[in-house]
Amino acid sequence: MSVQPPTPHRRELMSADEIRRALSRMAHEIVEKNAGIEHVVLVGIRTRGVPIAKRIARLISEFEHNSVAVGGLDVTLYRDDHSRRVKLPAGPSDMPFDIEGQHVVLVDDVLYTGRSVRAAMDALRDYGRPRTIQLAVLIDRGHRELPIRADYVGKNIPTARSEVVEVKLLEVDGRDEVVIDKQSS
């Protein structure tokens, strides 16, 4: 996997270590807010939300000595801008547990307009009625178009709409980093 060198327009926002520490903190916050992990399940929003959810689950199991279930949700079919977007491949969801009455923590890499999260909440509703839905994101870059906020945030990053925030993960991209590209639009 080739690593793009930094340019005046492209800079690193989080290193691999910073990502690790942020996820560790979020894992603790999830346990603290829910007073343990009983009835807590993590649901990653595909693509990068899933490996992040798995990492958080692994961290939780390390310090709680108990495992937390992880699912994956593909929200392509629930987007509200279907006819205006490039046709994304609609992937399968993987929800190997019942969410009825559970505290579901949705996990995503970047929180931006909030439309993916809204779609995820709609999708979740087709699987059952959770007791609560919470939201964990590695990056909150602002520019919300819907009244949605995250319960657990790895890092808040003020951005311009023209900027692109890229989260790279070992499991998907071969390396861990968060970069911002100011030139792209």
Partner: protein, 340 residues
């Protein structure tokens, strides 16, 4: 007995060469598979896999096509295809409307084109059409703005059935390339067989068709060089079934026969019916398929039709998933990457 090897055309070879490129070409209509690439077929099947997971849920509903109107305009009777499209549209959140020719202004003499223009004016985004005349969907597709999906035209093509057959084979056997597929029976009148042969050949299967000479297209036997597929034609059932991975029986379409193409049903059964003894000639785990509706006891015996090797009901379920995938892909738009 005649066994004829047909040579593949150059375009088929090219299509096989770019099999790895899964690109939906932004099609507006689905008329036949003859201009599809293997990559496109693979993309539809992959999307159908996602749709099938929706079918397994307690709440089979997504809002994906909310606001879209899909009309099924059927000029021939149908159970599977029409209901399959209607259910697929509803599961994706679209409004599905059924138009039956006998209960519409068609019975007052309205032309096909006027009917479809009316459906378009009413707001149909996609019209799924079944028509007894081959080529009817083509004629309409060139003159309206709605997307046209061929739900079966005359003896010609039934692309969505072929896609669901390919999907069923791939799901059960893990691949299509290299499999030996035998299509049995009334090939002459079968639009399913024609589309299946296109799709199977594109994905690299070895296809054998078998039936009485009167129910095989004459040019397939007499002009082997004129076909775009590599196809084996057998008039005897035993060599056709030997070593087959998939056996597909076709319905004897007596309503389309205007002359005595077979001596009698009894004779046809004796020579061509797929029964348990004959099925033993195929591989032990060979799939038994049928596009339906079946004449049980004519082209297929009941014990085979409902036996352990039969995937006939699964074909029907997979039909919904394939049609959901097609409606989803057809209702596309322009790019609007939003970075989330």
């Amino acid at each position: 007995m005649t066994a004829t090897e047909h040579r593949p055309a150059a375009n088929l070879e090219q299509a096989r060469a770019d099999r790895v490129t899964p690109v939906w070409k932004g099609r507006r209509h689905i008329l036949d598979l003859d201009d599809w690439s293997p990559g496109e077929i693979a993309q539809v099947m992959d999307t159908a896999l996602t749709m099938k997971s929706i079918l397994a849920r307690p709440i089979k509903k997504t809002p994906t096509l909310r606001g879209k109107t899909i009309v099924t305009a059927f000029y021939e009777s149908s159970t599977r295809t029409r209901i399959s499209f209607e259910v697929a549209a509803k599961y994706l959140g679209a409004d599905a409307v059924n138009m039956t020719a006998s209960a519409s202004s068609v019975s007052k003499g309205e032309s096909l084109l006027d009917t479809v223009r009316t459906l378009q004016a009413i707001g149909a985004d996609i019209v799924v059409m079944r028509h007894p005349q081959s080529g009817a969907p083509w004629v309409v597709s060139e003159r309206v703005n709605s997307s046209i999906v061929n739900g079966g035209d005359g003896w010609h093509a039934h692309p969505t059935q072929a896609l669901l057959d390919l999907f069923t084979i791939r799901e059960r056997l893990g691949r299509v390339a290299g499999l030996k597929v035998t299509i049995l029976g009334d090939v002459l009148h079968s639009r399913v067989a024609r589309s299946d042969i296109w799709g199977l050949s594109l994905l690299g299967a070895d296809v054998t068709v078998c039936g009485p000479p009167t129910l095989l297209p004459r040019d397939w036997v007499t002009d082997p060089g004129g076909l775009p597929w590599k196809l084996r034609v057998e008039e005897r059932i035993e060599p056709a079934l030997e070593g087959a991975d998939v056996v597909m029986a076709l319905r004897l379409q007596r309503e389309r026969m205007h002359a005595g193409l077979i001596p009698s049903i009894r004779e046809y059964c004796r020579l061509y019916a797929l029964n348990a003894d004959r099925l033993k000639l195929a591989k032990t785990d060979a799939l038994v398929m049928h596009p339906g509706p079946m004449n049980e006891g004519v082209e297929i015996s009941p014990d085979v039709a409902h036996g352990a090797q039969s995937v006939i009901e699964e074909q029907v379920t997979n039909g919904v998933a394939i049609r959901m995938a097609l409606l989803y892909l057809l209702s596309g738009g322009t790019a609007r990457p939003d970075g989330e």
